[in-house]
Symmetry: C2
Subunit: 342 residues, 2 copies
Amino acid sequence: MAQRSRPRLVDVAQAAGVSIAAASRALSGAAGVSDAIAGRVREVAAELGYVADVHARTLAGGTSTSVGLLVHEIGDPYFTEIASGVLRVAAQRGLTVQIGHTGRDPDSELAQVRALVANRVRAIVISGSGFVDARVQAPVKRELQAFQDAGGRVAVIGRHHLGADAVLPDNLAGGRSITEHVLSLGHRRIAFAAGPAALTTVADRLAGADQALRAAGMRLADLPVVEEAFTRDGGTRAALRILDEHPRTTAVVALNDDMAIGVLAALRSQGVVVPQQMSVAGFDDVAVAEHLSPALTTVRLPMAGMGEQALLLALKEPSARPRRRSTDHHLVVRESTAPPRP
Amino acid sequence: MAQRSRPRLVDVAQAAGVSIAAASRALSGAAGVSDAIAGRVREVAAELGYVADVHARTLAGGTSTSVGLLVHEIGDPYFTEIASGVLRVAAQRGLTVQIGHTGRDPDSELAQVRALVANRVRAIVISGSGFVDARVQAPVKRELQAFQDAGGRVAVIGRHHLGADAVLPDNLAGGRSITEHVLSLGHRRIAFAAGPAALTTVADRLAGADQALRAAGMRLADLPVVEEAFTRDGGTRAALRILDEHPRTTAVVALNDDMAIGVLAALRSQGVVVPQQMSVAGFDDVAVAEHLSPALTTVRLPMAGMGEQALLLALKEPSARPRRRSTDHHLVVRESTAPPRP
DNA sequence: ATGAAAGCGCTAACAC
DNA sequence: GTGTTAGCGCTTTCAT
């Protein structure tokens, strides 16, 4: 096992019979080298299998070629699609992406941000809901501010108040749309399967729901909002509780598709037929929503596009004031919602 | 915009009134510092918001704190779950992970490997099928060999012949199991919705199918194997072709769940009722498989576990000969398969 | 236990 | 156009 180290720039320069400066310029495509030398250097480099050390290059003052992406959990299809968008843009630009889980835990998020900062990434994209309580994310905010002061760039998806460019999913209007839809079908005994109220995403979607309800002369406060984890299992537990505590419910609005999938599973296990005995709606329109049983009525958000937008924003020159890009949303009516039985 | 750069080790050392050597030792937890000094340094560092520069650290000879993960497409649930496992282990070990898309394209794969090598990652995990034709991946193999010779570690998931530690999903036996299941239901006019035959995963799963068929006195060569992209859309196209070219088919075995989802969608659009008029089986048991309409009969592979295993292998001391870890598989019978109608 | 100093491999001034 | 050289911020001998 040779443990022979990789060729360095000196090796290439020597083999090509030029100085390391010339070699460096030739390889980074900078001006100030004759085509003849540039060509030879590149040839020799390819022959030797030379690959420049990113650490040395970055340390020496070259700009960083990597960006960071933080998601709550890559297994959640919502984040998967966002990540896909980010990776696409990064690949186009020849950027490397470092990805980290935050698990919706502020401490873990802080640790991940620190790691990215230590890696001197060019930009950080943070996706996923923040917390309603601003104090919880104060340490992260401070860290991000320092990062930006030192020339780093930050873009967030779906959270506010972080002093950075933001892509804002249409949670409020989406919450209104899906609730209007359920109301228009004739439902009045509606229950919400919600994630933790501390998440801004949950708060925003519920606020939208409240708007729709008020327009119909009702109030969210009078309806059951069952709080569980913002996951498939959380949806299952929420549905079970709704069945148990509010048996006359005719429609469940889940605050994301993942929970809706859990709701569907719970209802099936309890022999409740959707949509005949219970309507179910989701939020996000993840890729599988249309393939579920029954196909899920939901609100479509352009997740992959949000990921692309966010990285694009972060790669742009910073503006004096944080930029905001709001997305649109589309109500997608499929088979899981229907009028209540008389 | 201050552009004020981040505090460096010198700043910490100065503020604590010690040499940078002492500060370095204190922060990296190395031996040779009095507890008093170590404590003070850490305190000051925290106060200043000091975070060591990974590039400088790595360049100076510290070991790299990041690992690379290559997937075909993070949006594919198969890879999503693998990635999830990798991220979990990485987080536990305090490692950063760089992720890249290869898009099942050898050139792009080579570029991604180079990027990871340039980043001096400690280990590279490559997931996803390789190509049956060894020549196609020769350049990547060479690059990986050089990386390993220089002390880097590599682990692959689901491919062979790369001279590295490997986690091998039970594709052959799984292909046999799912085919045996369909045969045992009484199906004889079976069609396969396959990905490109050039992928080893496809080849292995088909080989398993052939074994099962031969045991039943049949041969794969006599059955339709429709080749399309190894994706949801590919599944849709495959199903349409099967309906068109082999209308008497009673069961479709898709070679991964993503294709099976596409098959299900195509059949629904054509008014073919599953499983009454057509049985459908998948492979992988991705998270949503059980929530599909109808719930999918498939072969479960421990994807997240495979991701964990792979990174764990890559983080271990290298062995003289490449290690191999084979996974198990479980036939999961749900609602999408049933006996053919008489 | 502590500090001084020599690099790690590269880029970017700066000379020529 | 080409080469020389001074760092980038850190870890690690090697003295003390």
